[in-house]
Symmetry: C2
Subunit: 377 residues, 2 copies
Amino acid sequence: MDLSNPLLTLPGHHYRDQNGTDTRNYGGLDGLPGIKTLFADILAVHPDNVLVGGNSSLTMMYETLQRACQFGVPGGSGPWNQDTQRKFLCPTPGYDRHFLITEHLGFRLLNIDMTDSGPDMNQVESLVSEDASIKGIWCVPLHSNPTGCCYSSDVVRRLATMKTAATDFRILWDNAYAEHHFEGAKPALENIAEIAMTADNSDRVIQFASTSKMTLPGAGVAAMAGSTANIADAKRHLSVQSIGPDKVNQLRHLAFFGNVEGLRTHMTRHAQLVKPKFDLVAEILQHQLSGLGIAKWSRPKGGYFIDLTVQTGHARRVIDLAGRAGVRLTAAGAPFPYGHDPLDRHIRIAPTFPELEAVRQATEALTTCIRLAAADD
Amino acid sequence: MDLSNPLLTLPGHHYRDQNGTDTRNYGGLDGLPGIKTLFADILAVHPDNVLVGGNSSLTMMYETLQRACQFGVPGGSGPWNQDTQRKFLCPTPGYDRHFLITEHLGFRLLNIDMTDSGPDMNQVESLVSEDASIKGIWCVPLHSNPTGCCYSSDVVRRLATMKTAATDFRILWDNAYAEHHFEGAKPALENIAEIAMTADNSDRVIQFASTSKMTLPGAGVAAMAGSTANIADAKRHLSVQSIGPDKVNQLRHLAFFGNVEGLRTHMTRHAQLVKPKFDLVAEILQHQLSGLGIAKWSRPKGGYFIDLTVQTGHARRVIDLAGRAGVRLTAAGAPFPYGHDPLDRHIRIAPTFPELEAVRQATEALTTCIRLAAADD
């Protein structure tokens, strides 16, 4: 967060954007043109297909689905609320707050296995081709939370082109870690919006991104991108719901980043802070656990998490043991719908926040707990 | 807006609030304690009953009603969506964006006549006592948009204590102009939350306020206040929908205002800018139109608007004529549900934005158009 402290005195006395818009006043439902361009560059779409909102992409996802439930979406046949059997696909392990949104809005959640290259597409295709009540799928295409996997070309193409029984199926494409690479080059990611358009499925994809894990988590800027019809539909509802986003904060971020190149330079500074922590966790896990057959773990090249897989039935016990030793971990089951890990074996590690020495101690303690749990068997 | 330009470089390098909370990070669903206290002072409630959000109270109203439609509210018997006959009371003339929210969410809108002391309570009581599908009423209790009337003690008491057929009736109490007085002392306003509580109707009232017309309209801070049950219910949903509000902007406003006394001092500077414009409009209307029997107008002591009533059937014509003369006014009918002024006679005047000389010219031209329309009869 300290890297972004210059934001705390911005935008200074320049409150007009490049077009002369007074950012202090009402209006501008879809965001300043400059910030639309910035997010368009991040998501590889045209700025006209971008809508920039407030401080949270999660809120934009919630609102997108709440609008679909209340009013329906382009290509559909009415409010999703009318389908009392509505369901949503949840690749697991995944992001608990995604799953919670769809649970809260009355969807039944269906687990999809996550592979090293994205959701298991055989499972996905088999389900969506049969059941018109399956309305969508949650996706984090780069450095997925928590496994860190990046979606392969094949997975993206199949998602964009597959046949769905629902005419109004939606992919919620949360590209939360689009610029969060700490190891090697930026991973290749197919342009899902273009592929979907070519396949005549342009309304299927709604993308999201935010600066929450770039600048200040609670005071950043979030955006969504979609087809012309999806953005027009969102704006039609937002014109009733909103007086416009906080454009001063958008200008503040523009002043801080300059453009997407400035943003990427900023993210290399993040990577320099984050990478040693991931390296340290990997080193300790390797040293303490490799060859024992009691755990495996993901080796992300970006994002914020490591997925640690222990023996079936051990995750909850390990997390409890660690808690008693003073190491607070994400609750067991959290990366699964309804908080239920069917094999009770996934542990999410989030090494970015603590200082390096604390990461070392916590990881050492965690490996001890894993060995203790294994020895109890 | 210029009065609030110091906000553009705040909060500076102090990003922790008085309790040491790092405002940059996630969390704090109901806002910083300091900003909760500030809004509690404005609304005369306890800080525990306040929830501070993002940049728009209108958005908080929309979300309050969207949640009621999707999930229901404390004291009710399920989602309001289930009542396909749901209705909402709209004191008229009133605020178009209020009416639009309820129209958009599928309520039938019922006109209530506005008197000099608030909505006509005989009409209100007669309707709500009979029809359980009437779920609520829009209220702007001080300097109501657009008439400028302030609700009398009798009106507030009757609203808070009346019998309603709906067990989950809600008063959306938009105290948008709680601190916006430019003439004389702050008007007395009964404490509706206290009266409702005494009458065992504490869940009936949900209050709203914001700094939109105090600091920067698009980049302010908004809040709601309600009973313990209402706030807990809102937080239960917000915990899914939100990662927390922009606390840096809350801290920014705390740094700018200090406390409610600082806020009131700030508002006296607003009053000094705004009052001459209202005085000028009143003077021109008086000089050009008094005694002719073709128009009357409200004389607000605060807020942002004047309601000008012309002869029945003349408003649209006058607004068209003024438009052709280069004076842009709020669309005819806007202060009424569905944009329909049944007697076509109300014109909303908003004199705060233009410079004094522009206000003079526009008002002179407007009076000419009124006389022309009258002469055409």
